[in-house]
């Protein structure tokens, strides 16, 4: 009986501790998500409104972003569109959008703009944290260009 030799390819890590932007206007959600992510080995930069999120995206390189769909100043959907349009940050930046319940239209708009994941409150912190860490492990196009394909 022959045995199949499975080869598991570990996803490359962008850094030991991924860096994530958390743009969340709701204080309690921001607190609890930040605490959970930091506990799970993620460096979190938190901002409360859209303009601050755009500023940080312009000056720092993040491995992933968690953005509330309804931020003050520039809403999360607008920021998502600007990132995907190459106006700010990396266009392929993995993005998780947070919404409030009963706003399926907003969730659909986020997916239309190529959000990687949309989660509505009430949130499961375990699932949110593992989703963010999975998204943050995705290699950037720049990293792939520098090192060859992830499977190399």
């Amino acid at each position: 009986m022959s045995t199949t030799d499975f080869t598991f390819v570990a996803r490359p890590r962008t850094s030991e501790r991924p860096t994530v932007l958390l743009a969340e206007g709701d204080r309690i959600t921001a607190h609890v998500v930040r605490h959970r992510l930091e506990r799970d080995g993620v460096d979190v930069h938190t901002v409360e409104d859209g303009p601050a999120a755009l500023h940080l995206l312009g000056i720092l390189d993040f491995d992933a972003a968690v953005i509330d769909a309804e931020l003050d100043g520039a809403d999360g959907i607008d920021i998502l569109g600007r990132i995907r349009g190459g106006e700010v940050g990396r266009p392929e930046l993995p993005i998780l959008v947070l919404t409030w319940p009963g706003n399926d239209g907003l969730a659909a708009r986020a997916y239309d703009l190529d959000a990687d994941l949309v989660m509505a409150r009430p949130l499961s912190l375990v699932i949110l944290s593992s989703s963010v860490r999975r998204l943050a492990r995705r290699p950037s196009l720049q990293a792939v260009a520098n090192t060859g394909s992830p499977a190399d």
Binding site: T29, H35, R36, R121, P122, S124, L125
Partner: protein
Amino acid sequence: MSTSTFAQVSLLLLALLTSLTVGLALVTLVLHARRDRREALKQSRWERWEPVLLDMLVGDVSPRTLAGEVRKGERGDYFRLLQSYAFRLGGESRALLSEAAAPHLGTIGRWLRHRRPDRRAMAIHLFGFLGDRSDLDLIRPLLADESPAVAMIAARALARSSDPAYVYPVVNVLDRFESWGVQAVASLLTVFGVGCAPTLLQAVGDDRRTDLARCACIEALRLLGYPPAAHDAASWLAADPRPPREVSAALLRLLRDIGGPGHADVVRQLTESEDDVLRLHAITALAAVSLQPGDAARIELALSDPSRWVAIRAAQGLIDSGRVQSLRAVAFEESPRGSVARQVLEEAGLDMAL
């Protein structure tokens, strides 16, 4: 009245008004100060508990440890904190919050019978979010609360449990929620999930219930997309006597969304109803459930309906069923139906070119 007496009365009145103004200003200041003090106290308590709560949510401390931080007289603020988090968190986090609430929930049980409706409402919220199955039984009697708002909050809390055992008690009090309207009541019922559908269907068939209750149940079945309801809806519409107008209209809306070609016969009959409202809903439903050429002709004929609303629905039905070309052909006519066709094509952002 002499001049001096008049001056004295005026001065007296002025002094009285000034005293009253100063008194009211003082009362306002005191109330503000009390509210600020209360808010500051709540804030300081929350700041004391939140670090422990966050550690609890990641599994570093037990829920009992957090519950042990709460002293007598602080429970109201503690529950407000837990409720704020419970509103945003589900899954395993909600279970931890419930465990942290459990040692103090006895206090809240008394609030369910409090004379103030806001206290009763808060107690229901807390039991609904943080209590377990047995706590929901404590909420159930509040469906009959003297305040309809409290009863509505109780109904929502029971609906969030998704427990089919509570569907019937909630359906039985739907008439109390008349001021909320059919859509809001239907939305409440959908919170139960599709598991409540058989009970809702039973309620629709009970003609002793009010139109509001029956319409809300039908609308909830439509929103839940419960296919077996379509067959019953068609049977009720075909019955003699037919259900009241509003109920029949709701049944037609249900058939529009979850009906199929097998229900076209009964819908077709209602396109000839003398009642404008029923014709209107029947035309829309027929466009959704039937692809037969004969029905397309019937819908096109309805463009000349005496009621402009029915004609507009017929035009929209032609667009929805992919018969835009027929509508465009009519749009060139200088007639009332041509005007309807042009209006609907324009509203749908479609050009008139054939």
